[in-house]
Symmetry: C3
Subunit: 352 residues, 3 copies
């Protein structure tokens, strides 16, 4: 399985890295050190001293320098060796690989491909922890599975009716009716109305509304889902087209799935709901129960994949988003590699 490299990956939470601190992460199987300087700016380098591969994340910040704490090599903010203890000067001009970084939505992002291709505009247009007009919650989960299996899960929410039957208790319209799927240059969006049902997340409330859901997965595996509610009849009035963007955003969630190693992934999530309830944060109890259901199923799916040489998935009509997204990923990987690499992971998507 391969992933797009010219894309922004969530590597950590902003709050995990204070000033003058180092933080070791793994992204796409590469060890990376995040380093926030005294001014608050984050830089990222391969987490491997040029001398003997000791991890720099076990090192020390010395002002605008980073010292490897095995044998003391000192690096500047460009990742260049500027001092070797006891050696007058280096005969080589050695630097660490540097990764472009960005900080948005509460997350530290890394651009894993060609540094020259990195542009902040390529960050997905999410909602995140800056939305202090919402009641917010957040968390993360470790998957013992390939990241793409989690991406597929987010792209086909028909599973909500079955896997999350007891947690999200959504109407089975989720599984029976198909969303509108739209393909963009670097994302796939699914949209749908759920008409004349209770307000999402207020199962005890008897109010009925028409609710509009939009969930969009951006390369390399980042979800934005928004939920808007309207008076009953709105969907019908709009002939089930999407409503104009407006005030009625009830809930959102931003989720990022980052491959750590070939068969492990980290799942970062932020939830927001209206109204803002002062210091009370989003109650994650039920959400995290549902996420545990996803994790158990996907890790068991991974175990079956590992036992099944030459396996293939078969696509149902509910997989339109899955198929479109994976086609997009394949195309982007093909562009990056000049078509030299098979991005399918050996998985043929056959119609069922």
């Amino acid at each position: 399985v391969t992933y797009v490299r010219n894309a922004w990956y969530v590597a950590a939470w902003s709050h995990e890295l204070a000033r003058n601190q180092l933080f070791g992460v793994r992204v796409l199987n590469e060890p990376i050190v995040l380093w926030r300087d005294d001014a608050g700016v984050v830089a990222a380098f391969e987490d491997r001293c040029v001398h003997r591969l000791a991890p720099l994340s076990l090192g020390r910040c010395e002002g605008n320098r980073l010292r490897c704490m095995y044998h003391g090599l000192l690096y500047d903010r460009a990742g260049t060796v500027v001092e070797i203890p006891g050696q007058e000067r280096s005969t080589a001009n050695l630097s660490l690989r540097k990764f472009p970084t960005a900080e948005r939505f509460g997350w530290i992002w890394l651009f894993m491909g060609d540094a020259d291709a990195a542009r902040e505009e390529m960050l997905p247009p999410l909602l995140g922890l800056e939305q202090d007009d919402y009641t917010l919650g957040s968390g993360q989960l470790e998957y013992a599975a390939e990241a793409r299996l989690v991406h597929d899960n987010l792209l086909d929410l028909s599973h909500v009716s079955f896997l999350h039957e007891k947690t999200f208790r959504m109407t089975d319209v989720w599984a029976r009716e198909r969303p509108t799927v739209t393909e963009f240059a670097r994302s796939v969006r699914s949209e749908r109305w759920i008409e004349n049902q209770g307000v999402v997340g207020s199962l005890s409330d008897s109010t009925r509304v028409d609710t509009y859901f939009s969930y969009e997965v951006f390369v390399p595996g980042v979800l934005l889902m928004t939920v808007r509610s309207y008076p009953v009849g709105t969907a019908s009035t709009l002939d089930r087209h999407h409503p104009a963007p407006g005030e009625r955003l009830l809930e959102f969630t931003s989720q990022a799935v980052t491959p750590l190693t070939p068969k492990t992934a980290r799942y970062f999530y932020i939830m927001g709901e209206q109204p803002r309830r002062g210091t009370t944060s989003y109650d994650l109890t039920n959400t995290e129960r549902a996420f545990a259901e996803d994790k158990a199923m996907i890790e068991a799916q991974q175990s079956n994949i590992d036992l099944t040489p030459g396996y293939r998935f078969r696509a149902t009509t509910a997989d339109r988003g899955v198929v479109a997204y994976n086609r997009l990923v394949s195309r982007l990987i093909g562009l990056e590699t000049g078509g030299r690499q098979d991005a399918s992971g050996g998985v043929s998507q056959v119609n069922l």
Copy 2:
């Protein structure tokens, strides 16, 4: 190492699977779901949804249907997809692989090879949990070793004198004298008299008897051992030939060793002894101490095998049963594979 496929393997205990329940097992490295319907009948299928390989053992029984609880595909008792939620009909005609099943002796059995070759008569003629005229006990153990090493252990009981010196405390005649070994079409039987010794399992008792032991290992690795005791002198009167089958069956044990993965196995055992003692069950304390001795030795043996490329076993005269059984297994595998596969696992049996 390969195993015979056209044979019945013990997959689980009958009591592990109630009506309308699913139970995931692993046999010969294949994930399998056992499914007992409302009428009590067990069926077995590959534990892998045709859609995206989710395990069906995490699914739900819906009367005579089984629903995958990831995206909701529904299967009938033939293993055929009969519903894809939200999709009018499947364009493919897809089914799960189905495994023949049987239920006997307290165990659920699976036939792992060609389904057309499965016949209940091929089940080993064991004694099991139906023997309610005995005091019964049962249990299981997980081995971190190839199943065949446990088979070999059961085929050469000369190890009882050494490995179980402190638990079974059998006379060293076990190691010094050789049993009569008889080869059958799908089993190897060893038989022997132990003359003028205490009653097995009654070490404190001063009674002396002649005891007749028969232990037979059936393909694919299932043991039946029976113990009969007679007045001292019987062995001599019979010129050490086997006695006529009769009333004097004192003890039996049925044991099945099932390969889960290439290097793990599950060991199922049932013990029975006369007389039946009401609600009191067989005291397994000492037996399980001895089984732990086997497990420690065999797992250490496996570890040595893994460290020794091109290793070979060497056979002593005590290995007659081992050699005969492994030759039988090789022949059966040769028949199944048309001789294309080396069943020896690279192990040459050289005489010592």
Copy 3:
């Protein structure tokens, strides 16, 4: 990575093996049984019965014989099978591989190569647990890393200034100044003066001394470090040459790093300091804290190595000892293998 085989490896502590006892160890990925007889003499054999590879370390000493406790084969002190229970005689003449052994400094040593090449004179000239005129301490540590990474650590003590900044609190002269490095036939020695500093290990003491350090790493990875202190001015008087051997040995440590498997190692250490303090032993608290710093760094370094195909180390001027020792190891392996094997482990030492 390969290691020299014609060399003595520390396999265990003398006190781990009482008379008439067996002890299973792993050296260079080979399972070995140590066997001390009634007279106190240690022999070593492959820990694998010729019959079915059961470990003999799970066996039993029977006077001058060793019995495998799986099926009862009996071996003599030459490692030859002398009895197979129930079999009149063996048709084969089978023996275990025997390894030359030595016992010195508190350790049991094994010669892992050609037994004819083993000579006790090849043992490194260490100081050890026989030095009862010292206050002694000892211990061991398990590394999840290649042994050679620990060897490299011992060969370049410039790391003390950084990695052990908070534990050994040595002056940064360690990192800034270079020791004198001398190459011998089977070792590399580094020597240095530290002038006009506090007494090592007496940080609270205001006494100033000149201290002479010598640390020598012997094939296949055994360190002797000695520390001698002199009145301030001695180094200068001697023009910083080494002092004559004398009474002033203040401290020593002998350390042996034995490869267990390709990526695990056992680290044995003995510490001694003057004066002898009766029954009080060397306080290892701080030392073991420092050793834990080494272990954390080296295991993280190993993890980076495993993630970095085609990686290479780059040598600083502090690596003179490291480079010399690894060159010596390569040369010795080349002699053993007739140059057929690349001893570099794929690691090029490039100057930095």
